[in-house]
Amino acid sequence: METLRRNRTLLITLAILAFLLFTAIQGLSTRDWVITLLRGISVGAITFLVASGLSLIFGLLDVLNLAHGTLFMIGAYVGWTTYLRPDTLVDLLPPVLLLAAGLLLGPFWAALVGRWRTSRTVSRAWPWAALILAVALATLVFAQWPLARWDPAVAAQSPATYSLQLDQAIKAGQARAAPAPAAQGGLLRLAGAFLGSALLALGLAGFSAARYGGAGKVTGAPRRWALGALLLVTGVGIYTGDAALTRFLFGLDTAWLFLIALLVALVTGAALGALMEITLIRPLYTRPIYQLMLTLGLGVSGIELVQAIWGRTEFNMPKPALFQGSGAGCPATSIVDWLANGCSTIDMLGGRIRTYNELFVILIGVIVLVAVSVLLQRSRLGMIIRAGVQDSEMVEALGINVRQVFTLVFALGAALATLGGIIAAPSMGLSPLMGESLLLAALIALAIGGLTSFPGAAAGSLLVGLVQQFIIKYGQIGIRLPFLEQPFKPTPPLVPASTVLLMVIILLVLPQGLFGRKE
């Protein structure tokens, strides 16, 4: 009886799943329901990548990050660009690394400014001067880099053209010709990027000193200097080796390029998340409504920003060669067979399954689920996160820098969303609005799972994915209802509506959600 009570939520989830599955597969052939089931799990996996980050951030920081869908989309666009035009990555890395190196100076500036006594007017005015100078310098410098120079109207420059070329080259079994590295700024411009960000850091230090008083000593100074020096050296190194590196990247197999795209998306997400938490979210912890509005606004401006850089057109992303083949030996009959021939489909479980959409995506979902669970349950950071969800003040009183943990968790959550974006891109395609529907699905999944619970996010996402896909399937074949002459065919608007309905039913029975805790 005791074990029954303790595993109540698990049993309820399983019962709902079994019931839904049982009703859902009535009237479907084995082939159909296996495919639909896998598609549901796959959509659930992508939803989970967004929902898990949301739930981690909401649990520890009490911030409902409505910009999470936008982060998902940015992950897709950044990863896609890296995948198709690695030369863009190589060209952009030096200024970005130098920018980061300049920002690292912040705490040193703060310590310096703290010692500097001036009149009130001067101490209020000079940070503005530094800020304006920094922005002017940054505009001047960054206008020269490729991302800003892309003109979506010029077909030859557009990554969409590369996407098409890559697609055709693979189908024809040919290697791509590497484009000449884009012309880029000289060392002087690189120095400008560094100077600009150092000025920006100085300006910010000035503002915080004017408001909160100067900071004391710098914590972890040697590590900071080392990291800054490393960034500087790497940035200049990439700049000097630009042509060789570009040639090397274009010569790589698509699977490797895809892996690099994943990493770039992850790092971009983590960096954006950390930046967002430190600069915008942190000052507003005492004002949750403002925070909510801020994340909403960031989400919308993020979409506009992406449209400004990449245009409004929708793109597709060619899958890596491993998931693209259709020649001899395809469709594959086993996993080994698939790995040998790189087939796009595989005959398994009585159906024809797409290797990328249904196998790889689910695999990534499972890997992330296991990895984050292990992080939460087994590591010291995970212990601090779980304790902080309950009482972050007490964690701070134990001598743990909770603010730093907050930044880490925000970065982690954002990185999971951008990872989701690049994983979803080859199967969903890219559009500036791709994040919005996913954010809604993830929020519903969270509500079903119980907001702050990590296993809840997984279970909720799975349910949302399954319900969506089964409704879509029934939209094609119709449901036979006893009181209707014709089979009832759910229309496309019913797909999102069905998940909302599921949420309503679950919340009526369990107001805390499946894994939620009573307060």
């Binding site: 900071a215 779980r386 304790a387 969800v389 701070e396 009183a397 134990l398």
Partner: protein, 235 residues
């Protein structure tokens, strides 16, 4: 006082716009136990939180071991060697007993080093080591909260209402434990139960409406019926 481990000098603390502490001074000599006395809402807990920087003072300062902690963040202040046992047995309920202790480590191996001492004080915790915190009784949770503050080498322990809501026999155990651990580090206690406070502490500070109004030796206070009546109500 020349050898004070903690000097709280005329601190003023605000919570939001409310002026809670309006001049509290506390001096804690090294070794032994000092108790903060006063009615509900007088500002005793706020004083502890001010010391730790959880509620930074707007005026006045806190000096720990000869060093001002002004401008430091809480985690940094705690890391100087201050342990905090908050009121209401604030352990981490979703963490196991073992994790509740391990999270307090400031250096790897702290818990292994102190395990014998901690389980000597609270033998129950050894038996409950693997259980989640929310399965513990009130008394066991309070023991865990105190034990957690003992894991790193803290020179000062701030203990807020250790006897609150506990059965008399558990209070006995708790008092015994606090007396023993005060041999290792200085204790600043907040205690509503005057009987407990008078048996534990060597000296006292009375806080009344956000001001420290009187301080002295416990031995003198016990016989001073008038003061007890005036500031603490019936004793």
């Amino acid at each position: 006082m020349p050898d004070a481990i903690l000097e709280v000098q005329e601190v003023h603390t605000f919570i939001g716009q409310f002026h809670i502490l309006q001049g509290v001074s506390v001096s804690v000599p090294r070794g032994g136990i000092v108790v903060l006395l006063g009615r509900n809402g007088a500002g005793k807990t706020t004083t502890l939180k001010t010391i730790l920087g959880l509620l930074p003072p707007r005026q006045g300062q806190v000096i720990f071991d000869g060093q001002s902690v002004q401008g430091r963040r809480s985690f940094d202040i705690a890391a100087l060697g201050i342990g905090f046992v908050p009121e209401h047995r604030a352990i981490f309920r979703s963490l196991s007993v073992a994790e509740n202790l391990k999270i307090a480590e400031r250096a790897r191996g702290d818990l292994d080093r102190k395990a014998d001492f901690i389980f000597g004080l609270f033998p129950d915790l050894k038996r409950l080591y693997r259980l989640p915190g929310n399965h513990l009784s009130g008394g066991q949770q309070q023991m865990l909260a105190v034990a957690r503050a003992l894991v790193p080498d803290n020179r000062l322990l701030l203990i807020d209402e250790p006897s609150e809501g506990l059965a008399p026999i558990i209070i006995e155990q708790m008092m015994h434990a606090i007396r023993q651990l005060s041999a290792e580090s200085t204790v600043l206690l907040v205690e509503q139960n005057f009987v407990v406070a008078s048996q534990l502490a060597e000296s006292y500070v009375i806080i009344e409406e956000g001001r420290s109004v009187q301080a002295g030796l416990m031995a003198d206070l016990v016989v001073d019926r008038e003061t007890i009546q005036r500031y603490l109500g019936a004793a």
